[in-house]
């Protein structure tokens, strides 16, 4: 079943080029659904946080009812979580992780949950201690954006993924920038800059998957 060309080696330069091209091709093929995950989160942040900003951002000329804004935000988050789970599962189909890899993934997943819960618990406690609603409306979006950025940085370090490190660094920078403004501006900053980071990241990965340029993997 083998052809002569399968068994015949190329010259050393050709073999090294074949090796590098094959590894790059595997990385691209296994990442082909990643842009859709990033696009989903980009739209979710842009529209979801944008809706929260519209509650008071254009007042008094226009105000989106709080219930509608929260429903849009939560609904889009739920869709993106579900889409990420489905597309992530499809990306990893046919792959079986070792016990060590499963342990790493489980600990990282638990770390995400603990981090999100901790931000909520601390925020709730601060509110109980008298933190004004205007400050809470800075604390929650900024802290969630910051922790998501840090988690992308950590994921990039664990799985040696340069794009994840860049994305995480940019999200952390967006969070810090948003933290220097007063309510409702943080929602606008996170919607436009945070959503923009996801959309730009999706575009870059999509172009890379199509072979337009190289991205260092590790």
């Amino acid at each position: 079943m083998t052809s002569a060309s399968d068994d015949a080696p190329l010259d050393p330069a050709g073999m090294l080029e074949l090796l590098e091209r094959q590894q790059s091709d595997v990385h691209r093929r296994t990442a082909k659904l990643i842009p859709w995950i990033l696009f989903a989160w980009g739209v979710t942040w842009l529209v979801g946080y944008g809706a929260l900003w519209l509650v008071d951002g254009l007042g008094p000329a226009f105000s989106l009812p709080l219930g509608v804004a929260v429903a849009v935000f939560v609904g889009l988050m739920a869709v993106s979580v579900a889409l990420s789970a489905v597309l992530g599962g499809l990306s990893g189909r046919g792959m079986k992780a070792s016990k060590q890899s499963n342990f790493t993934g489980a600990v990282f997943g638990c770390t995400c949950s603990v981090a999100f819960l901790a931000i909520y618990v601390v925020g709730a406690q601060l509110s109980a201690l008298g933190m004004p609603a205007e400050v809470a409306n800075v604390y929650f979006p900024v802290m969630y954006t910051l922790i998501i950025g840090i988690l992308y940085l950590v994921a990039g370090a664990i799985w040696r993924a340069v794009p994840s490190v860049v994305l995480g660094g940019l999200l952390a920078a967006v969070a810090l920038a948003a933290g220097f403004s007063a309510y409702p501006t943080p929602y606008l900053v996170i919607a436009v800059a945070g959503g923009g980071v996801f959309l730009a990241g999706g575009l870059v990965i999509a172009l890379w998957v199509r072979g337009r340029f190289g991205i260092p993997q590790r």
Binding site: M1, A8, P9, P12, L18, G94, K96, S98, Q100, S101
Partner: protein, 98 residues
């Protein structure tokens, strides 16, 4: 300069080992998924995998998902070491530092 490892020094087997080396140590991939990633026929892939398995470079684990038999493939420690040595040899042959 020692001779390049003849088990890896063939286009098809170099492609297979290169693809398997992208997995983390201990992780494995199902035969159909590897075939899809490499764009190789099942027969061709099987033939070259057997040569790699005979050399101890690839670990083959046969299991079942429900009633469907599934074969998972991974680069063994020996295979990973041989692949890295091969890569270093190529680079030093080309004048780089191994």
């Amino acid at each position: 300069m020692s001779e390049l490892d003849p088990v890896i020094h063939a286009q098809a087997r170099l492609r297979i080992t290169s693809a398997l080396a992208t997995l983390d140590l201990g992780d494995s991939i199902a035969f159909p998924r590897l075939q899809e990633l490499l764009d190789m026929t099942a027969g061709n892939l099987s033939t070259h995998l057997r040569k790699l398995e005979d050399a101890g470079y690839v670990d083959v684990a046969k299991t079942h998902q429900g009633r469907t038999p599934v074969t998972y493939l991974a680069l063994s420690k020996r295979g990973r070491r041989a692949f890295e040595d091969y890569m270093d040899q190529l680079r030093s042959l080309l004048g780089g530092t191994a």
